[in-house]
Symmetry: C2
Subunit: 160 residues, 2 copies
């Protein structure tokens, strides 16, 4: 149960309209990158508990696209974006919730090697207004992010 010891930090940046997320994992940089780029792995951990994930498009290469849908009890939530850059320890991607197509986030994920098979995920999500950023924070996204990472912990543990 070592995977329950890590806290997810979700912070509003004081000077730019950005949310910063930091989270440690018992996994290597390569494992974390695969969890974010392999569609089958990604579908197994992303999103809040009890949501079914359906990948509709996925090309996790620089310039590729992605699209998926979360479903629960007849409710459906679609998301889409582009992989702007996919490197060895960094992914830059765009993100839109299809229910609010005007809203676009530019996300950067960096995976820092902490040694001993551990790593730290640094994620930042930039939008074009503080109002949009604060709505995003107020939307309950924290629960979905944290529940997803607990699933990712379990996936990494099963992979050891």
């Amino acid at each position: 149960m070592s995977h329950h010891r890590y806290r997810t930090t979700i912070e509003a940046d004081p000077t730019v309209p950005m949310v910063r997320i930091t989270r440690d994992f018992d996994g290597t940089v390569g494992q974390l990158m695969r969890a974010h780029t392999d569609p089958d792995l990604f579908a197994r951990w992303v999103g809040p508990d009890g949501m079914a994930v359906e990948i509709l498009a996925w090309d996790a290469t620089t310039g590729g696209r992605w699209r998926y849908r979360l479903r629960r009890d007849g409710e459906e939530f679609g998301f889409h974006g582009s992989f702007h850059d996919v490197g060895d320890d960094r992914i830059v991607q765009t993100f839109t919730y299809d229910g609010y197509p005007e809203g676009v986030a530019l996300e950067t994920l960096r995976i820092e090697d902490l040694g001993d098979g551990r790593c730290r995920l640094h994620a930042q999500s930039l939008v074009d207004s503080f109002e949009g950023r604060d709505q995003f924070l107020a939307s309950g996204m924290e629960t979905g992010v944290e529940q997803g990472y607990v699933e990712l912990d379990a996936l990494l543990e099963a992979d050891r």
Copy 2:
């Protein structure tokens, strides 16, 4: 020579790390969209005077990728990004100068119909720090943008 009467406004947003560009054109919304999505048309106007444009990848659909190179006197400048969303009067795309791969801009272009065959381009370019935004403004980008739009004026005039 009607195309010399429009000014390009380039402004630093006071509250978010964004550059805003506004420019009128003697062209329809459809013409402006084609000038930004058709690779042959785009190559004819983008960039500073005297630069040759070479399109290396181009898929101007939602989720598609783009990549091009500007060349002059043996100098070469590469750029790449993704088309996050391509609509009827709006394009959201990412932008990176390959010489500074850490820098990523999220660009939104909106074409406003002014009637009488004229339109107004509203472009915004968002980055993740004010330092990055101010370096971008100090890089001489204004000259390239303005010279490109004068070429686009000529292209629209030839199309009438």
